[in-house]
Amino acid sequence: MPTITVVDTTRTICHRVRHMIESGTQKDHTPVDVEAIVADIRRRIQSVEPKAEATVTEPAMDEDLKVACDTFSGGHWPSGGVVALIRKAIYRMLGLKEFNARIVAILSRIVSVLNGTNVPESGTILGNQHRTINMLNQFSKRLDQYDDVKIAERLAALEEEIKRKRVSEKS
């Protein structure tokens, strides 16, 4: 028998043994239909309930806002803790639970716009805050399930719109 045949046969056997070892751990040899599995997963998700990311219950949000508004209604300019509470409420209204530094920076600017640079006179705070909160609520309703790429742009647009609104309120 020519040597070359022996070598080829040895290689073939090695290849087959290796394939058998690998395929031996495989219980099912049919190809995996990824599209079908994903479609099935999506059907099951829809049949249960739409799974929104980081959903927040309305009562929790309302509770935070109530505390904030009660504080304002007393005519006291918010302490750092209350500002943090307002910020938290705004995050929740926007449906955000996790945010990167850029989004935090934009939202912080929004909060600073809301706070204003001067301390408002007692008695005007509550009304202003209510109007602002209503306005933010309207915006948040327009923000659908947020898109990974567009969120920062949307927030920047929101910030601009809030600024314009404040200017028109002042005038």
Partner: protein
């Protein structure tokens, strides 16, 4: 046969997928008996100022290759940054701005003079990747001998008129996967050159040890692995956010392990659930692939994704973003994993993978088979010789 690879950066220190592909392909083609010359600049890589000539100019022999390095043109990097920012933001550059941008993006007149004088000495000149002056301007000299290996991404740069013209003048274009070819045809229309679907070579003799990884990093829980640069361009922030939401919705000790350079903020309450190991040695990363329950590639913009191939070689299934046509094509073609378009998908797919160990194993093996059959170096080099370089 004599061929040249033209790349803006070249060397073991050059970071980047295209640079790595160029080097590995060139070395293996040279080993197969082809005379391979590298024409590159003295700059180090895209992450370093390309006004700095890191390497000495001249000719060297390394790994069976002749490497000719040429000095880069000194340019106004602030001007580049301004135009680059516009492109990233999706602003369309004027004709004049585009010309300026290409002029600022890694050029070497000495390299172009060499191509003008010696281009005909080569049977083929391979340009990789599509962007950079070295490819856009270098390919002007011998378009009939030009092979473009674009590593094309769906990004603002791909929409430059100069890039469209580059694709139209190249005699042959080598794509990694169908999704990349489809993107090119969508952006540039029908291309006159020969279109070749070759793929990218992978070292398939990857050795890994799951137990060694678990012992070294003291991780006994099941975990989802991400390997690669941890920044927003790779969409890792979304993975962190999705995994945080997943952990809040599900019981269990599943962790997310991140390995690779750079870092992103991790919520304080998730510090024990999301483990950022930073840059780890290559062998540790291979061991991590084996130890992982699922590998996640959340990037929206890949032209190939070597880390997915490495994960599959270790029989670990991949969960990828369905918004990236390339990685989605990989999992659908191979049967080696699942894809998600949003958080609900992510939750559903990860839950499915965690609850179906048999299917997880099948997917891992299917992925491995896909890599071995499509992207082993023998296969890739054979395709280059038979399809890319042949008449």
């Amino acid at each position: 046969m004599k061929i040249a690879f033209v790349s803006p950066f070249f060397g073991t220190e050059a970071a980047g997928g295209a640079e790595s592909e160029c080097r590995n392909t060139a070395i293996r083609l040279a080993a197969s008996g082809i005379n391979v010359e590298i024409l590159t600049t003295c700059a180090r890589d895209i992450h370093h100022n390309w006004n700095m000539n890191y390497y000495a100019q001249g000719v060297a022999r390394e790994d069976g290759l002749t490497i000719r390095r040429f000095r880069t043109e000194h340019v106004n990097l602030e001007g580049f940054d301004a135009l680059n920012k516009k492109i990233i933001q999706g602003v369309k550059l004027s004709e004049e701005e585009e010309r300026l941008f290409m002029a600022l993006y890694v050029n070497s007149l000495d390299l172009y003079r060499y191509l003008s004088a010696h281009g005909n000495d080569h049977d083929w000149i391979c340009f990789i990747p599509y962007l950079f002056g070295t490819t856009v301007y270098g390919s002007l000299f011998n378009p009939a001998r030009t092979i473009l290996i674009p590593c094309l991404h769906d990004e603002g740069y791909a929409r430059l008129q100069a890039v469209k013209e580059l694709f139209h003048r190249s005699a042959r274009i080598v794509f990694h996967v169908n999704a990349e070819r489809e993107l090119a045809q969508r952006l540039y229309g029908d291309l006159p050159g020969r279109i070749l679907m070759i793929g990218e070579g992978i070292d398939t003799d990857l050795l890994s040890d799951a137990d060694r990884f678990r012992a070294r990093y003291n991780i006994s829980s099941p975990f989802v692995l991400y390997a690669g640069r941890k920044d927003e361009s790779k969409n890792v922030h979304t993975l962190i956010r999705y995994f945080t939401a997943y952990k809040e919705a599900h019981q269990g000790d599943l962790k997310l392990v991140l390995v690779g350079p750079a870092s992103l903020p991790i919520p304080e309450r998730m510090k024990d659930e999301i483990l950022d190991l930073g840059f780890v040695p290559h062998q540790d990363r291979n061991d991590a692939y084996s130890a992982a329950t699922v590998f996640c590639q959340p990037s929206l913009n890949e032209s190939f994704s070597i880390v997915m191939m490495e994960s599959w070689l270790c029989k670990t299934p991949c969960l990828v973003s369905g918004k990236c046509a390339v990685t989605r094509e990989h999992v659908v073609r191979s049967g080696g994993g699942l894809y998600f378009d949003n958080y609900a998908d992510f939750d559903g797919c990860l839950t499915y993978l965690m609850e179906q160990p048999d299917m997880r194993n099948r997917m891992g093996l299917a992925g491995r088979e896909y890599v071995l059959s499509q992207f082993a170096w023998d296969t890739i080099i054979s395709r280059y010789i038979r399809e890319v370089l042949a008449d």
